[in-house]
């Protein structure tokens, strides 16, 4: 898998920062508009998947390894859990929204919910890319086995 033609590579080069930016926007505005952690995370992961498909997996590995994406996934879950557990220590309730709620329709509002979304977004992006890489690796392993 050496990657696709020059057209695909060039378009990918232009598109991928925009896709990531849009994913981050969706994650950060999760408490105001439709979207949130999961759709944004999927978009971020899809950008990396696009890179892998267009450039071949050798180049994509240099950008983001599978182990790195697993680590990001675990970190995302841990952020989410720590926020939930902090609720117990601050106010005595699991998942208590302990930060000030702020004013509706502003970007900094709704207490811990944006922070939770960041955790979820990281988790989903890491997990989906890890799953994709795992499936790709299976196929690569198969190709290696066949000639023998």
């Amino acid at each position: 898998m050496k990657g696709m033609t020059i057209i695909v590579k060039t378009i990918t080069k232009f598109l991928s920062p925009l896709i990531i930016l849009f994913g981050v926007y969706i994650v950060l505005h999760g408490h105001l508009t439709p979207g949130g952690g999961f759709p944004g995370g999927v978009m971020i992961a899809s950008c990396f998947i696009l890179l892998t498909l267009a450039y071949g997996k050798e180049i994509a590995y240099k950008k983001l390894k599978r182990s790195t994406s697993s680590v990001i996934e675990s970190l995302g879950v841990l952020i989410f859990l720590i926020l939930a557990l902090l609720g117990i220590f601050v106010g005595g309730y699991f998942f208590l929204n302990f930060l000030p709620l702020g004013h509706p329709l502003k970007i900094i509002s709704a207490g811990i919910i944006p922070l939770c979304y960041i955790g979820v977004g990281l988790e989903v992006a890491g997990a989906i890319f890890a799953v994709f890489l795992a499936l790709v690796l299976f196929k690569a392993g198969e190709e290696k086995e066949k000639p023998q």
């Binding site: 508009t33 439709p34 196929k139 392993g141």
Partner: protein, 111 residues
């Protein structure tokens, strides 16, 4: 009734799971069943002439559709993605071991 349609899709998925021999087609059948249930949940939340439940500066007092089933469907989709990924990877592994996707030939267990 439009709910009947969901049930028809559900039955199509079930037919696919039961009748097809290829394990990948079985996976597709399960995915179809999941979509049928998700569609059903979304339809439950629909109100006549409702608008999406998003509060912005312009839309504050309108007739919203029920947002709760939408949240449920999102969660269900996440779960079904996890199941689907695991299933597809199992299929690849099975193909490595048995060199076939045919369910009638994958019969090493008796039962």
């Amino acid at each position: 009734m439009i709910f009947f349609l969901c049930f028809v899709i559900f039955l199509i998925g079930l037919y696919c799971v039961i009748v097809k021999k290829n394990i990948l087609k079985i996976v597709i059948g399960i995915a179809i069943m999941e979509y049928a249930v998700n569609l059903f949940l979304i339809l439950l939340g629909y109100r006549w002439e409702g608008v999406p439940a998003i509060v912005t500066e312009t839309v504050t007092q309108a007739k919203f559709v029920d947002p709760l089933p939408q949240a449920l469907v999102l969660t269900a989709i996440v779960i079904s993605i996890a199941t689907l990924a695991l299933m597809v990877s199992l299929c690849i592994r099975i193909h490595q071991r048995y060199k076939t996707f045919d369910i009638t030939k994958i019969r090493r267990l008796k039962g």
